[in-house]
């Protein structure tokens, strides 16, 4: 109970205030997802799978929506060695299809439905959407570099071989060499899908997470 006249409490109170307001906001936002049957029809999951997914979702976010901070937190718990906040940010934007700053359960299911039960075409579409940060239909080298840096950040520092400064850039160059057919410096969705379909590794790895649920 610091009752000293030079009330230092004042300086901290605005920050406290905004935190309180934030928490109040988050607490009052309550989102209920659509009915189970509707979601089952919209997505490719069975009822039981939806139930399991929702239980996990609700446990972590009782208010029914995930905001970006929670998202980053959750994601970072899987990658303890590196810094996954940037990649989580891109991922959040990819999931938040209506760009309202929060991922509801429907957005979540929509994304997962594509990733786990969608056709290869849909998955590639989703990946393209992820890389295309400004959603203009073209992947530029800068966008790809941001994504690549974010992925390399997740590795952290203690890697073998030692992570060099230009590793992301080199990786981007390799990527563009493979994907950019007309060498115009950007990758369109068609170029992307075409090049991926030609690459056996990529095709195989797309099937990797079929049985995740």
């Amino acid at each position: 109970m610091k009752l000293l006249p030079c009330s230092a409490a004042k300086t901290s109170s605005p920050a406290v205030q905004s935190n309180v307001e934030d928490e109040l906001e988050m607490a009052t936002v309550r989102h209920r997802p659509e009915a189970l049957e509707l979601l089952e029809a919209q997505s490719k999951f069975t009822k039981k799978e939806l139930q399991i997914l929702y239980r996990g979702f609700k446990n972590e976010c009782p208010s029914g929506v995930v905001n970006e901070d929670t998202f980053k937190e959750i994601y970072s718990q899987f990658f303890p060695q590196g810094d996954s906040t940037t990649y989580a940010h891109f991922l959040f934007n990819a999931f938040d299809t209506d760009h309202n700053g929060a991922v509801s359960f429907e957005d979540f299911i929509r994304g997962l439905s594509i990733l786990l039960r969608g056709t290869v075409q849909e998955k590639l579409n989703w990946a393209f959407n992820l890389y295309d940060i400004n959603k203009d239909g073209y992947i530029t080298k800068e966008e790809m570099l941001d994504i690549m840096k974010a992925i390399y950040d997740m590795m952290g520092k203690c890697t073998y071989p030692v992570l060099k400064e230009d590793a992301p850039r080199q990786h981007v160059e390799t990527f563009f060499q493979k994907m950019d057919k007309n060498k115009d410096g950007v990758v369109t969705i068609d170029e992307f899908i075409e090049s991926c379909q030609k690459d056996e590794n990529i095709m195989r790895s797309m099937q990797l997470f079929e049985n995740v649920i």
Binding site: L53, G56, F78, Y160, S205, F209, I213
Partner: protein, 636 residues
Amino acid sequence: MAAGVAAWLPFARAAAIGWMPVANCPMPLAPTDKNKRQDELIVLNVSGRRFETWRTTLERYPDTLLGSTEKEFFFNEDTKEYFFDRDPEVFRCVLNFYRTGKLHYPRYECISAYDDELAFYGILPEIIGDCCYEEYKDRKRENAERLQDDLDSENNQESMPSLSFRQTMWRAFENPHTSTMALVFYYVTGFFIAVSVITNVVETVPCGTVPGSKELPCGERYSVAFFCLDTACVMIFTVEYLLRLFAAPSRYRFIRSVMSIIDVVAIMPYYIGLVMTNNEDVSGAFVTLRVFRVFRIFKFSRHSQGLRILGYTLKSCASELGFLLFSLTMAIIIFATVMFYAEKGSSASKFTSIPASFWYTIVTMTTLGYGDMVPKTIAGKIFGSICSLSGVLVIALPVPVIVSNFSRIYHQNQRADKRRAQKKARLARIRVAKTGSSNAYLHSKRNGLLNEALELMGTPEEAHVGKTTSLIESQHHHLLHCLEKTTNHEFIDEQMYEQNCLESSMQNYPSTRSPSLSSHQGLTTTCCSRRSKKTTHLPNSNLPATRLRSMQELSTIHIQGSEQPSLTTSRSSLNLKADDGLRPNCKTSQITTAIISIPTPPALTPEGESRPPPASPGPNTNIPAIASNVVKVSAL
């Protein structure tokens, strides 16, 4: 909250599809779910009360009884439920821990009963959430003190191990009940302190008159007697001080302590008086010095526990007292100014200046009202009455607050110190327990890898050695492995990384590095410090403070273990361990409070045996082994 994250693993794995088009190398195979069973409800019958929960809820913490296969021992075939002959009340808390990730301590529960239950279910009490941890620790401390008291009273009859003479003396000084000599010493010094104080007081009493001169104080009439008494007291005090100085375990600390300063101040005037001659110029200063003799009364605080507590709480309450003083000063100045200007008009007013009015204000506000200064004008009287009314408020209001603060701050201070001390111990305890559990975990890892290696090599033998790793863990490892493949770099632990630093710098600067080779320790610590700087930028610490506070702060620990590899290692640092335990490398270990629920090694390469090692430290091996680990272990 950490518990629920496991439920998001499917999401993280699905999102890994985003890496696929970027990767240059093929991805590893996903772990198959051998015994994929639907999530089922299991019934836990605890002394007749039935609890039901999902199986996956319990499996969140695989290192506990309920989360591991240990619960199979309690499975009742006839009723198809798990029966535990334990307290159902505490089990409620335990089960809630699995559900919410937070362990709470119910206040009505007995501390030893609670501890016993936690031990039975294999849960560390350190996991108790911050909301309940204070209470838990307080109760535990009280219990421990009670036990300790019992133990002490038993011990007092026994003979103590032989201490050195110096130590015995110090013990005697600090605790007078240890021996008869100490008790005698205690009473003698107490007596002389009392004598000295009474002497000082009586010295000034007028003692009757010597015919022919004015009334003298006793001190001057019987100056010789008083001088002798004073000398005797000072001698005793000096001897006591020197003895304490001799016996003190840390002399420097003793000299700096408050009590010794009081001792010195109490006896100094006498010696200074001896040294100084009866010079008129300095006698004034000398008289002032005699005032310090009254400090001898503070020596009683060694004899009185209450005085010590009072002094300590005054010291810790300084800010409140400061505030009281400040507000009083404000009020005094305001009212003195007002009274001065109000009384300016009246003639022969005693309020000659504002500082002169201070005296009136203080006397009025403390409701003393001597009456030597009274206002005469109407305005003065009005303001005077306002002054005395507000004085009652200003004085009376903070006093109960301060009094209640005494006890609160006193306890709080004690608790804060204890908490700080406990935190280190708490982390250390968790670390020790973690190594124990991670041993088992890594054991199963190695067995799992052996299984996979055997399977890949096509041996159809029985490969189910030891405990199976949980599906969640293997899936998480697979995820990290995919990341490795995407970026074409591997996760390694810190020690290997530092070795790499060392080697690469060796290659670059062969000449300048040779001295640092001998001081390998120094290099690791610099790498380590860089690393520890890096760890502060871990995502968990980037998060806003509110989020962090809402979680379990200590739900995981990041420990570093290292051990001498009994087998040659390969660069693909697999997280296995030799058969002897995992010894945390204290020098490079760090405790970062990350919030992870899943035990995970940083790298896992199931097909390690097929890859040739990229660089030096030795040929590859068929049997994977590790040099060191960075193990992020869950709370349990």
